[in-house]
Each structure stands twice: as C-alpha cells, then as structure tokens.
C-alpha cells in the first residue's frame, strides 16, 4: 500500500488544475444564476471539485476522512437550504 501513496504532492498537477478550473467556473455560475434553487447544482459541483483538490493535495490515509467530512457537510448544508427554501421538512411525521 505504501508504494501507491505519492511521496510528493504535485505529481498529478494536471488533475489538480482540472479540479481548480472547474471549481472556479462553477463558482462563477453560482454567482451568475439568479434563481436560488437552480444555484444549488452548481454549488454541488464546487463541493465535488474542492473535495477532489483536498484529496489530491494531501495524499495521506486520514485525508479521506477530511474529504468525506467536507463533502457530507456541504451536501447536508445544500439539503438544509433547499428544504428550508421549499417550506421546511415535510417528511418528519
């Protein structure tokens, strides 16, 4: 398992650039889109890209915990925003 972990971050720079460019693009789309509900899919793309960047920059076994925590947290936030905006949780009962 040890030999699969790159010793120096930066071996896969193109992958990081791809994620970074997509993150900036999606962030711009979030700003440009006027409808709040239609902003959320773009925000989702930003979360994906940032999760990818976290993992690519920090090749360490514990990184997966950080990446998953960030991703699940941001998904939960989107979930909360969408549910609140649509009039609150209707499936509590």
């Amino acid at each position: 398992m040890e030999d699969q972990v790159p010793v120096v971050a930066g071996v896969h720079m193109i992958a990081i650039y791809v994620c970074a460019v997509i993150a900036v693009y999606a962030a711009l789309r979030v700003i440009i889109e006027r409808n709040t509900m239609r902003k959320l899919p773009f925000l989702n793309v930003v979360s994906f890209a940032i999760t990818g960047i976290i993992a690519l920059l920090l090749p360490h076994p514990l990184t997966i915990l950080a990446a998953a925590a960030f991703f699940v947290g941001s998904t939960f936030e989107s979930n909360a925003i969408a549910s609140t905006w649509s009039g609150g949780m209707k499936r509590n009962g």
Binding site: V18, C19, A26, R38, V45, L62, T75, N79
Partner: protein, 169 residues
C-alpha cells in the same frame, strides 16, 4: 501509461457510466427523496427542463449518491488503496443517514467505484488521481453545464431504464 489528460478523459467516461447506471438502477429520477430535492426538480422543470431529470439532480444535491460515492472511492483509493475505498463507502453510508436518505445508491456506487478504480490502478493504465479529476468532470456535465439539457438527457435514460428493468411508476 497514456498521457495524463487522455487518462483523465477516459476516467471521466468510466465514472460517468458508473454513477449514472447506479443512480438509475436505484430509481433516483423517480421522485425527490426530501422536500428540497422535489423543490429543485420543480424549479428545473419551470426553467424548461424535465421533472424526472430534475428529481435526480435534486437528489444528487441533497444527499451523497453514487456520484459522491465514486468521488470519495477515488479519493480513498488515492490516499490509502483498497481499504481507503471501502472506508469511504462506510463514510458515504453515514452521510446518507445524516441527510435523511434511506437509499443505498451512494454506498453501492462507492463499492463498485472502489473495485473499478482499484482494478484500473492495478492494471497499470491509470492513476487514482485520474479518477478524482474524471469524476469532477463527470459531475460537471450533469450538474454544471445546462440543467435543461442534463435533465432531458437523464429523462431519456430513465425511460430506457424503465423499459429494461420495469418497476417504475
């Protein structure tokens, strides 16, 4: 090994087919899992898109589904090999429960993606980082380009899935 940009594009295609197939099998386009997902679907439909496609987009936003599973599996394999990918599946399972999602699309997608990514890395043709960037490109095509066209594409695939596997309402 091929050049990195080419590998990333091929990995994006593999990731795309993995998460779309799993999401369709688990009926994500059928209805919104939570009220937020339904609201997103209705807005997508108002903007000229398709309601079923909108449901799947809303469900992807509201809970970690197979696309999140594929991304976290790639991250897991990149950081810690096969055990990392399987650990990611556990985290996706917990994430599903946190987000009030009763389904298993995320966990299943994460396990299949772990096997695919680990197999691809072992074959020597790909690096796990290709799949991380590939999955970001794959989700961009569904969520980040055009909600109208993406939802219509998903609706078309949803009809094919219903004809092949039945069980749709």
């Amino acid at each position: 090994m091929l050049d990195e940009p080419l590998r990333i594009l091929i990995a994006a295609l593999i990731c795309w087919f993995n998460f779309v197939t799993i999401d369709l099998i688990f009926k994500l386009p059928e209805r919104g899992g939570v009220s937020g997902a339904t609201a997103i679907a209705q807005e997508v439909e108002k903007g000229g898109g398709n309601l079923n496609g909108g449901y799947m987009m809303g469900n992807i936003v509201s809970s970690p589904d197979a696309s999140a599973g594929t991304l976290l599996a790639s991250c897991g394999v990149y950081c810690a090999g096969l055990p990392g990918g399987l650990f990611a599946a556990l985290l996706v399972y917990i994430g599903n429960r946190i987000c009030y999602d009763p389904g298993y699309a995320g966990t299943t997608g994460c396990i299949t993606a772990t096997l695919i990514v680990y197999g691809a890395v072992q074959s020597g043709w790909f690096a796990a980082s290709d799949f991380i960037a590939g999955m970001v490109i794959a989700i961009l095509t569904i969520q980040g380009l055009s909600s109208v066209h993406a939802s219509r594409l998903i609706a078309r695939l949803w009809k094919i899935r219903c004809r092949l596997l039945r069980g749709c309402t």
